[in-house]
């Protein structure tokens, strides 16, 4: 055993420290330079510049709020008129979340090694999930609108497809951590694959799956509003119409903005409350209490 003098250790430590500091300084410098250069580039390619536009940022909201305030009596009427569209948007989100959850659950079980009935096909199903996740909803919706005509059905299919990909991956990660003991027990009494999954895996993963599905529901409300904006009906479509009417009809636009904002906040709170309850219930170990 050789002894190393303390001052050599200290010198080596300081050298390493200063090298690491130099690295992180360089990294930060590169990062900041990229951000600045990127903003500069985006700015030069934008129709209106940042400096010219900045004072105008609040003009539109201010005009909206001002006019809505003057005609505050109209707001409830406008909101009531937009309500069917809002219901349609929520229905699109809910239906696509339900369909996507079911599809995602099946795909997740098929794509989880150890649970899959066809272990060789696990990578194939994983790739399918990757591809489904990579499609922006809008792409599928626009193609389907051309074939099926405008309306909520293309939006449901588009969002459900993306949801299958997004939830399938998360569900599979949860299922990977499930205990195999119930499955083995069921297998020993001759249960089929469907029975093993339904009675052995689903009860274990249900709280987490439900929690992810609720998070998706909230995301899908936003997506469904955006799809309405490009022609799939619902509140997004109403919003685009209301915006195009312009000044003098700002009260209608403001009413829809408020309705959309309120809906998103409401479901954001509702799902986060429900998810908290689900996760907490799981931590308290109410094993027999669920499903």
């Amino acid at each position: 055993m050789t002894t190393v003098p303390a001052d050599r250790i200290a010198a080596a430590y300081h050298a390493q420290l200063s090298r690491r500091r130099a690295y992180s300084t360089v990294l930060w410098a590169v990062f900041v330079a990229l951000l600045v250069a990127g903003f500069d580039m985006a700015n030069s390619r934008n129709a209106g510049g940042f400096v010219a536009g900045l004072p105008k940022v609040l003009d539109y909201p201010a005009a909206l709020i001002g006019e809505a305030w003057d005609k505050i009596g109209n707001l409830p009427g406008h909101m009531l008129r937009a309500l069917p569209a809002l219901v349609e948007t929520l229905n699109i989100a809910a239906a696509s979340t339900l369909l996507g959850t079911m599809g995602g659950a099946v795909m997740a079980l098929l794509a989880t090694s150890g649970l899959a009935p066809f272990p060789r096909l696990v990578p194939v199903f994983r790739r399918i999930l990757d591809i489904a996740r990579a499609y922006p909803e809008m792409v599928i919706a626009l193609v389907l609108i051309f074939v099926l005509g405008g309306g909520p059905v293309p939006a449901v299919i588009a969002i459900a497809f993306h949801t299958v990909g997004a939830l399938g991956k998360l569900f599979s990660e949860v299922a990977e951590n499930a205990s195999m003991k119930p499955v083995e027990g069921l297998e020993s009494v001759g249960a089929s694959w469907l029975q093993r999954m339904w009675f052995g895996i689903v009860p274990q993963v249900a709280p987490n799956w439900a929690s992810y599905a609720m998070l998706r529901f909230e995301i899908n409300i936003r997506a469904s509003a955006i799809l309405g904006f490009v022609g799939a009906g619902g509140i997004g479509y109403e919003l685009r119409n209301a915006i195009s009417w312009g000044q003098g009809r700002y009260d209608a636009a403001a009413a829809i903005f408020l309705l959309l904002f309120g809906t998103i906040v409401f479901f954001d709170q509702l799902t986060s409350m429900a998810r908290n309850r689900l996760v907490r219930g799981q931590e308290q170990g109410q094993a027999g209490g669920r499903i």
Partner: protein, 435 residues
């Protein structure tokens, strides 16, 4: 007594299980049935344009060559999809068009052919027989007593739909033959390029062979012709993809920079003042609740269409999301390192730098990377609304309702782009968590 309690508890448990395993699925089925009625799923079949769907699928993987005769000037031209900038010069004429003793012949699949004769005469030969149509100064004359089902005959127009997407149309002004070819036309080089129509082998030989243009190497020349392809605009498409990723990058990381200091103000263990905390938290809620869609609309009013508008819309929404996530991470930090530093007399900045940041940095970075990937997808959609990046190109190609091969190309690129971002961000996150 105890048995009765157990019985009641067991009964409750069973009825709850019954609710979950029968009640909930039944409710789901009822709800989906309601939605099917509300969305008029039954009427969908009537509204669906399956011919549009067939057209779209065909265009995804194939293209049409139009062989057109201007009946007045008696000129025959061949072009791709009738595009002016994709008209073949006489020496580039497709090999299924040939001159005969009596005119010009166009070979079509499955034994069909069309011959352009003199004085506006058109002869269509199918395996079942031969039909003659003549374009005159006043209309179209034809003598086909019992026209087959795939013929559409009137005084001013004769159309024959032939197998494999081929078609003959005769009107007073012009005679047109469509023939479908598999693949994406002129994908690498357009007709103005010297490299058009060369096989891979010929191109490979050219790449190492003598220069065509003395001032540029052949590979450089090929790259230039590919990049400036007049039909597919590869250069512009690459730039659009870069712009989409730029929007996501700027929005995500600028939002990260802004929200980290704000998150300290919203975390109860760093900001004792409840007023400040609540105010900052409500700002986060507002930014998050006003959806990216609304922010996009508001920002495009001020800054006009373009990538900056998209970046700012992402920035605003994500500042809210990150603020919430990061402040939760900050509230969960381990207090012990902070106490340790405090005992050495370190100030609050030093405590944050050396005891807090190392704890939350992996969480922050991995969230940023995760959102960078998901925002690339979002930036495509925002681009379609606000006018920037690949989303805009996709939207424009869709609106023409005929450039479906471009639509397919853009979709393919978008999916590849998102998958690459997903993979890169996943790899980086895995390294962060490990290291």
């Amino acid at each position: 007594m105890a048995t009765i309690d157990t019985n009641i508890a067991a009964g409750r448990l069973i009825s709850r299980k019954r609710f979950w395993s029968f009640g909930v699925p039944a409710m789901v089925v009822v709800y989906l049935a309601y939605v099917a009625v509300a969305f008029d799923l039954g009427g969908l079949a009537g509204r669906a344009r399956l011919d549009n769907g067939a057209l779209l699928m065909q265009d995804f993987w194939s293209y049409k060559i139009h062989v057109t005769r201007d009946n007045r000037r008696d000129e025959i031209t061949s072009s791709i999809e009738g595009m002016r900038n994709a008209t073949f010069s006489p020496e580039q004429r497709p090999d299924f068009v040939s001159d005969t003793a009596t005119g010009t012949r166009v070979e079509l699949p499955q034994g069909n052919s069309v011959e352009f004769g003199a004085d506006g005469l058109v002869t269509l030969t199918t395996p079942d027989g031969s039909y003659q149509v003549r374009a005159t100064r006043t209309g179209v004359e034809s003598d086909i007593p019992n026209p087959p089902k795939n013929f559409n005959i009137s005084d001013s127009r004769v159309t024959a739909y032939l197998p494999e997407g081929a078609r003959l149309t005769v009107t007073r002004a012009r005679t047109e033959v469509f023939r479908r070819q598999a693949g994406w036309e002129l994908f690498f080089f357009d007709l103005s390029s010297e490299f058009y129509g060369k096989s891979w082998g010929e191109l490979g030989a050219l790449a190492v062979g003598p220069r065509i243009q003395p001032d540029q190497s052949n590979i450089g020349n090929m790259a230039h012709d590919f990049w400036t392809n007049g039909i597919w605009h590869h250069g512009d498409v690459a730039w659009a993809i870069f712009e989409t990723i730029l929007m996501a990058f700027l929005g995500t990381f600028a939002a990260g920079l802004i929200s980290v200091p704000l998150a300290f103000l919203a975390a109860s263990n760093f900001t004792p003042l409840a007023v400040v905390r609540q105010a900052v938290r409500r700002i986060f809620d507002l930014l998050r609740g006003v959806d990216a869609l609304i922010w996009t609309v508001i920002m495009s009013r001020a800054f006009g269409p373009g990538p900056l508008t998209g970046s700012l819309a992402i920035l605003l929404t994500d500042t809210g999301t990150f603020g919430k996530l990061f402040s939760e991470a900050l509230e969960n930090v381990d207090e012990k390192p902070i106490e340790g530093l405090r005992s050495t007399g370190a100030g609050s900045i030093a405590r944050i730098r050396w005891a807090v940041i190392p704890q939350v940095a992996p969480v922050i970075l991995s969230q940023l990377l995760y959102y960078f990937e998901s925002n690339t997808r979002g930036a495509t959609v925002i681009g379609a609304i606000t006018g920037g990046g690949i989303g805009l190109l996709l939207m424009q190609a869709m609106q023409t309702q005929q450039d479906w091969e471009h639509v397919a190309y853009y979709i393919l690129l978008i999916v590849l782009m998102v998958m690459v971002m997903d993979w890169v961000s996943g790899r980086l996150r895995a390294r962060l968590i490990k290291g």
